[in-house]
Subunit: 436 residues, 2 copies
Amino acid sequence: MAVSTVYTTQSFHSTCSISTPSKTHLGFNQKKQILFYNSGKKVTNRGIAAVPYVIRCSGDTLVIGLAADSGCGKSTFMRRLTSVFGGAAEPPKGGNPDSNTLISDTTTVICLDDYHSLDRTGRKEKGVTALDPRANDFDLMYEQVKAMKEGKAVDKPIYNHVTGLLDPPELIKPPKILVIEGLHPMFDQRVRDLLDFSIYLDISNEVKFAWKIQVLIRFREKPAIVSPAKSMSCNPKISDELQRDMAERGHSLESIKASIEARKPDFEAYIDPQKQYADAVIEVLPTQLIPGDNEGKILRVRLIMKEGVKYFNPVYLFDEGSTISWIPCGRKLTCSYPGIKFTYGPESYFGHEVSVLEMDGQFDRLDELIYVESHLSNLSTKFYGEVTQQMLKHSEFPGSNNGTGLFQTIVGLKIRDLYEQITASKAAAPLQATKA
Amino acid sequence: MAVSTVYTTQSFHSTCSISTPSKTHLGFNQKKQILFYNSGKKVTNRGIAAVPYVIRCSGDTLVIGLAADSGCGKSTFMRRLTSVFGGAAEPPKGGNPDSNTLISDTTTVICLDDYHSLDRTGRKEKGVTALDPRANDFDLMYEQVKAMKEGKAVDKPIYNHVTGLLDPPELIKPPKILVIEGLHPMFDQRVRDLLDFSIYLDISNEVKFAWKIQVLIRFREKPAIVSPAKSMSCNPKISDELQRDMAERGHSLESIKASIEARKPDFEAYIDPQKQYADAVIEVLPTQLIPGDNEGKILRVRLIMKEGVKYFNPVYLFDEGSTISWIPCGRKLTCSYPGIKFTYGPESYFGHEVSVLEMDGQFDRLDELIYVESHLSNLSTKFYGEVTQQMLKHSEFPGSNNGTGLFQTIVGLKIRDLYEQITASKAAAPLQATKA
């Protein structure tokens, strides 16, 4: 069993300083790691590395949890989020080409599939899916996220989505903002309690089905070019299922339905319940603008924002706290069929008071977006039109013309705002103490 | 035949001056007048009086048409309108106690029933209703309205709603604002063309039915105190029908229905079509907040405002020209069941582009109204809260807690604005001419 010594830069409650650890980073070696993950045995204080050259303020890594089923656009969301902070997100340089991690100046996004305790073969042998908590190591997830939140580097395992195996770990230095994205960021209470902000991407079955068909069609048309695992970072289940689908079921409409149905019990038992804990939920549903439509091309997207979350002020439309629907198409804005409809209002969500902003339909042109942006309040933009600018910048990303892109961008801005407010309040706290 | 000489203060296009007519006012005598009305014969230049002491600017009497079926709240509307201009409206002093006219400092409201060419007996003999154009003298209506618009006093006939007879005429001096209200202000094209602004009160059959029952119940409970003709100015049809109902049909639900049904053909032929010409329509419908409700207590009221009318800028909610629904009840406003819902948006109405503001439900408290007022734009108020102040001032008027009162008040403000804009543009025109 590989146990690395823990080196912290400072104690949890201290302010910033440069650490001078006497030992070097100790990681797993590949063999031990694979043995470990296959065993699923739980140990403590593993994989937490102290790197002498890292200067960190302990406790000031913001931890964001992003939960969603596979193939639900987490990767796009993460690219939008990191873009808001100004940098491009890339895999760790010189590391495992199949790494699931994305690193930018301020943000590190890790994929929680890396905490699978069972590889593909292991899961098959035990008859459990990747959704099952028994296939995941929550102790390690908790310890490593906690370590990073406290300013410590960790040796995070890698789950290789291409091979289905557990690869040697990679060193992850604590960033300013750590995003943990995957199936279970809010499943384990200890991990959940570490989160400064949590998001759940809630894709309706109709839309999942439509999207899955689209991915399969692309894969069938250009299997060499469009590797699902490669084209969508952290989209293993599409990859795994695609492989299983194609091997075992073919890929008829029925097989896709069967695949979704087979996945349902575990999804409903372990993934879906997490949304009750989320500070923000992005719900993706079929449009209501076209009666009976379930093509999944035009989407109705709802941004559910929990009230009373410190440093998080929900976006609103026209009049905070009232119930509004708005069809901006009219004398000032021309929309093609079926148009655009926004809805806003207070609701109750799992017993929590929330505000919900909904967009049904899609943008035809850019000026529509700036028009919409100018009517939304509490966007946490730094200048007029920043949302539109961000959306324009990534107009090739999926969902750029509908509510998924818009709300991902808005949530990105809210997270930046959250980060800046928390940083400012922490910077002010010692000053206050000095003055007192 | 009585023909009075016409004395104008000035020619139609001239500016203000004091007239020095050489003859005194010549009116009808009672006998001739009654003969005339019973005959229904048309003559010109009748009943137009020149009064030497009236100083008027020719052509600057604003003429407003208000069309509606009987018992539809025209009287309340007029009281709200005159209140906006600051004065109280009263019948002409020392005149016929059954006069239908209301006079305030700026505004004179005349009831077009005064242009009935047939009295109650005459209508019965000829088998026509008061709605039928054959029972009304549009030539005289046109001539007298035109005369007043040109700054001339007229000897206007009086239809006595209590006796059903035509009484001796009363002298009406041209006011700053002349409101002609009744069944047919937009029926005759010549009269219609004299209107600077026109309003149609469109009460749905369900609501009419509910209101009629309320009036009948009040009348049955307190027939001596609540004389329908007296309690509602210009409500002859309720009075007439009530008398007929009670004499011929009794007053069961069925009889009220039968009375409404009997009225329908003429209403649909002569009254209803006028709404296509109106600059503003106030539609009164049953609420949609309570499914299946048709009690007529909670109302859905729509203010339909024609676009492109000079000096008339439609009111809007939040975003001009888009489609919006707004339930102000929420975190800032507590409403009792069934709440309040506003809707706003562009529509087409008889081929015209219109903006429609709708209010469904009713106010519980005053602060709700000021909250609503603060979110409406283009109200033409002179200070913040003027709508609320007006509504408060007349909180005992019917409809003060719902859209009828609110929209009547708003239309009153729009008419004041129209008057002020037209007056200002007329004052500026000679200046411009002098400069040129």
